[in-house]
């Protein structure tokens, strides 16, 4: 672990913190364009965060310490996730701290805390949101793990860095298993990031919301941290998807040139990914909550199919 490696690790984290709201803003802007609305400024999420940080926290009477503690934990989990996923380089010092399975665990930890916090005040919407979040979570998590299993079997490793290096170095062949895994991963990331077919980030219609229902009681800096963490989660998922399915352009080792080149490549990939996300969101409608299991069940099926295809067709190639 070199000093420059540590610096680059810090830089990757700071970059994640800085880019995450921008990505959210970009997706919102694209969505507005596609839906023929006038778009909010690109930097709108930063203004929001600044405004929320300035405001007082208004805490409900029944709130416990867990409620005040949870936003920080969720934020910390997302920072860790962004630090582990190779955004710029595969050779950063925090990469061996957690492999892909532990990464799923980080998301799970954040989910448990936010759901518990939602139940803490004891309002009807809070517990409704918490329950639905856990529902989406337990459906999405196995699918995500199966996607990871498929990639791990191709690269003989669960370490994110090794997976990315292996996938980036092989010849450009479209593996059918990776195609299935990619579809499953897209489905899962929509669900996990509270995006349209499962949840709507822009809604405040009480009966349909999941993520918003959980954070109804939050305000001020707590809300800011949760919003920021949500942005980080979208960023983490996008980077994970890019790293697994489009791993080209991520630096290996810590040469200055490779790392500097990785930044514009990452930004370009995120911009395209964000626009696609907005596009998919715009042509879909939010489904009823009890259609969400079908949606995620399909994702799970695709993921297992990917795994089976890998085992049946590709192992002897």
């Amino acid at each position: 672990m070199s000093f420059s490696g540590l610096l680059w690790q810090l830089f990757a984290i700071v970059l994640a913190l800085a880019l995450a709201p921008l990505l959210t803003g970009w997706v919102n802007q694209c969505r507005a364009w596609m839906q023929n609305r006038s778009a909010p400024p690109l930097l709108q999420p930063y203004y929001m965060l600044h405004k929320l940080f300035l405001k007082d926290v208004v805490l409900a009477h029944g709130a416990s310490h867990l409620f005040r503690f949870a936003p920080f934990v969720v934020f910390g989990c997302m920072v860790l996730a962004c630090a582990i996923i190779p955004t710029l380089s595969t050779d950063l010092p925090l990469a061996p701290a957690a492999d892909t399975i532990a990464l799923v665990g980080v998301f799970g930890l954040a989910r448990i805390f936010i759901s518990l916090a939602a139940m803490d005040i004891g309002t009807s919407f809070g517990s409704l949101g918490g329950r639905r979040e856990m529902l989406v979570g337990f459906l999405a998590e196995p699918a995500l793990l199966m996607v990871i299993f498929t990639t791990a079997m191709i690269s003989q490793s669960t370490s994110v860095a090794t997976i990315v290096e292996t996938l980036a170095h092989r010849d450009f062949i479209i593996y059918p298993s990776m195609a299935f895994a990619g579809i499953a991963f897209t489905f899962v990331s929509f669900a996990e990031n509270a995006r349209v077919p499962v949840d709507n980030p822009a809604t405040h219609l009480e009966l349909t919301m999941i993520h918003e229902a959980m954070i109804l009681e939050y305000s001020g800096r707590h809300l800011a941290l949760i919003e920021w963490a949500a942005g980080l989660k979208l960023y983490a998922y996008s980077c994970l998807g890019l790293a697994l399915f489009f791993p080209w352009g991520i630096a290996e080792g810590d040469s200055m040139f490779g790392l500097l080149l990785a930044i514009p490549v990452l930004v370009a990939k995120l911009a395209i990914g964000g626009a696609l996300l907005a596009g998919i969101e715009s042509v879909n409608a939010k489904v009823r909550i009890f259609r969400a299991p079908e949606f995620l069940g399909t994702a799970f099926l695709f993921a297992v199919l990917g795994l089976l295809v890998r085992l049946l067709l590709e192992t002897r190639v």
Binding site: F53, D56, V57, L59, A60, H61, G62, S64, L66, F72, V73, F75, G76, V79, L80, L94, P96, A97, A98, D99, I101, A102, G105, V106, G108, L109, I112, L116, M119, D120, G122, T123, S124, S127, G130, R131, M134, L135, F138, L139, E141, P142, L145, M146, F149, S157, T158, S159, E217, R221, A224, P293, F300, A303, V304, L307, L308, L311, L312, T315
Partner: protein, 669 residues
């Protein structure tokens, strides 16, 4: 004076537990003497056991012969590494539970404290003897003592009919299991008449008889562990018992059954056949899915935990199956990986499940309420219990950085290697089983959020909860000890694997410790760091750093102002406790998605109801499909047999006479 061997220390510990138990009878009504002196001493003995086995691990086996028992058939005892791992578990888990129990038992609850003390320490001593036994006779005696003492502990509160029923069911299944174990031992002696384990190891059984012995052992130990379909006693007996007893049964006693399975399948039987692993894994998967689904829909907090124990036992059986499969194909390094996951999960489960059961005990004492529908908001009244329970909940949900995650991680890593199996279809089916394990782990998170959120968070659902009090100092100490174990198992996996590796090495001839030790104590990389690595301490430190730094920065750059107000709740005025999710409401999505898995009786209100109400009752399909028909069959058969017993002496004399004639006819030379 010759130095005491570890096995002697353990024997002394067993005797000390027995002595403590009988000391309780000296003053059966003196609560102070029993709870504040005898139970803490019992905890000290537990710590002694744990430390002894920690020191022992890695050494070669020691034997002892006790001159008690039948003539010509003394008790053979043996301490080897497999035993030591489970003694470690027994010692450390029971220490926490005993300390908790010191503060738990009150006046006027169930049986006399002295009697409880006797049963409790007899239970501990017999579990220790089960682990140490080296012949079938000693094993069965200890096993039966364990079953009986735990039966009396379960029925402590015997004035309630349902508790007596639960105890009866437990005893019945325990004995059916014991018969099966006995038969398994009988098969393994292969008619040689040598009932010592050494004699069984020396027998080379044919595949048929070896399989018979394995299946009998699986059935027998499965009945004790709660594998499908002999799990029904578990959700009845655990809630019926006092909480320290439930903790002991779930955390420790179930593991003695796992110990028995390991002993039989890896030590006594020699080389396993590959399909044993498939059987164990299929039963394990079914058990795990069943357990976790039912745990999500429970409305009684201890039943919820009991079903969660079934789930964990299922996962242990999956790990056992995977180990057997790898071992059968001589892939010892991978078998060692799966076995480490298995042993690790035993330790982890003993820690977090005991912790959670004890937390329910504290809640039960503070509120006299077991039903989730009448709890809520206890984090305000019982902060110690609530925060310590959170550790158990996170571990139980299999999330990093606590203990449950490490074993799950190891198990999934082992699954990732299964495509390398040299078998045409096994190498495709087994990886897909990992999907089921992943589903179970995710559902466990759902169950645990329900458990924690409904008991400790939200508004109090009953007025009486306002008077709830936090746990006393003894109870807190016990909980802190177990939470500390959970944390230590979570963040120091390499050190723990360094200890339990001796058992893996003994059973499989291969271990993980060398690989693990190559890369620093903070890193867990069972194969190689390129392949997979996990550094829980750095993981935890990064999150902690982000939390602290984030908080500092926000407070420094902006402000830390905070004011209190009523909850917003989208502006709804009615915000009473009844607006929250009930236990039934929380699990409604599960009931809906997995509807065929449950046998439900529901009552929906209609608009014409005078007093509309909603009720749902979830029952076990197997109870109706398997147990009730079996019970009817047993009743029918005994009704037939009753006809033989007319109650008239003349008839009985006639039977004797007929028997005599038949015997004379048969026995004629």
């Amino acid at each position: 004076m010759p130095a005491l061997l570890p096995i002697d220390v353990l024997l002394i510990a067993a005797c000390a537990w027995l002595a403590l138990g009988f000391a309780g009878l000296a003053a059966p009504r003196n609560l102070f003497f029993i709870s504040k002196i005898l139970f803490p001493l019992g905890a000290a003995v537990g710590v002694l056991c744990g430390l002894t086995s920690l020191r022992f691990l890695g050494e070669s086996a020691q034997v002892a012969v006790l001159a008690i028992g039948l003539p010509d058939l003394p008790f053979h005892l043996r301490l080897d590494n497999l035993t030591a791992v489970f003694v470690l578990l027994l010692g450390f888990a029971s220490a926490g539970i005993s300390v908790f129990a010191a503060g738990y038992f009150r006046k006027g609850e169930g049986a006399a404290p002295g009697l409880m003390c006797l049963q409790y320490h007899l239970f501990l001593a017999s579990m220790l003897l089960v682990l140490l036994a080296d012949d079938a006779y000693a094993f069965m005696v200890a096993w039966e003592c364990m079953a009986l003492s735990s039966f009396f502990l379960v029925t402590t509160d015997h004035r309630h009919a349902e508790i007596r029923r639960a105890g009866y069911l437990y005893l019945l299944i325990a004995h059916i299991g014991a018969i099966s174990i006995l038969l398994s031992f009988g098969v393994m002696t292969a008619g040689s008449g040598d009932y010592s384990f050494a004699g069984m190891r020396a027998q080379a059984l044919s595949p048929f008889w070896a399989s018979a012995a394995f299946l009998l052992a699986l059935a027998g130990f499965g009945a004790k562990a709660g594998l499908l379909p002999v799990h029904v006693w578990l959700p009845e007996a655990h809630p019926a018992a006092p909480s320290p007893v439930s903790a002991m049964m779930s955390g420790v006693m179930l593991k003695t059954a796992i110990y028995g399975l390991l002993r039989v399948s890896f030590d006594l039987l020699g080389t396993p056949l590959w399909w044993w692993g498939v059987v164990a894994m299929s039963i394990g998967l079914a058990t795990a899915v069943f357990g976790v689904l039912y745990s999500t829909v429970q409305s009684d907090m201890k039943r919820l935990l009991a079903y969660s124990s079934i789930e964990n036992i299922g996962l242990l059986a999956v790990a056992l199956g995977l180990t057997l499969i790898f071992h059968a194909y001589r892939m010892e390094a991978l078998a060692a990986l799966a076995m480490t996951a298995l042993l690790y999960h035993c330790l982890a489960h003993a820690g977090f499940k005991s912790l959670l059961f004890l937390c329910t005990g504290s809640v039960l004492h503070a509120t006299r309420e077991r039903s989730l529908g009448k709890l809520g908001g206890l984090i305000h009244r019982m902060p110690w219990v609530a925060w310590l329970a959170l550790a158990g909940v996170i571990a139980s949900a299999g999330l990093p950085p606590l203990s449950g995650f490490v074993s799950e991680w190891l198990l999934l890593q082992a699954f990732l290697f299964s495509p390398g199996l040299p078998h045409p279809w096994l190498n495709m089916v087994v990886p897909v089983a990992a999907a089921v394990v992943a589903l179970v782990a995710a559902l466990a998170g759902f169950a645990m959020v329900k458990f924690y959120g409904i008991i400790f968070l939200g508004q109090m659902r009953e007025e009486a909860l306002k008077d709830a009090h936090d746990a006393g100092p003894w109870e807190k100490a016990g909980l802190v000890w177990l939470a500390g174990l959970t944390l230590a198992l979570g963040v120091l996996p390499s050190a723990v694997i360094g200890y339990i590796d001796a058992a893996t090495r003994q059973l499989l001839g291969a271990g993980l410790a060398d690989k693990v030790r190559e890369h620093g104590w903070w890193m867990l990389a069972p194969i190689s760091p390129e392949r997979a690595s996990y550094e829980p301490l750095i993981f935890l430190a990064t999150i902690a750093a982000a939390v602290l730094l984030g908080r500092q920065l926000v407070h420094r750059l902006y402000h830390g102002r905070l004011r209190r107000s009523a909850a917003w709740d989208c502006g709804y005025v009615f915000q009473g406790p009844r607006a929250q999710d009930t236990a039934e409401g929380f699990s409604q999505p599960i009931r809906r998605i997995f509807e065929p898995m449950f046998r439900m009786e529901r009552h929906f209100p209609t608009i014409r109801d005078e007093r509309p109400y909603y009720s749902v009752k979830v029952e076990d399909h197997l109870w109706h499909w398997l147990y009730l028909p079996l019970a009817r069959l047993a009743n029918g058969v005994s009704a037939l047999i009753t006809r033989l017993q007319g109650g008239r002496i003349a008839i009985y004399l006639l039977y004797s006479f007929l028997t005599l004639i038949v015997l004379l006819l048969v026995a004629r030379p």
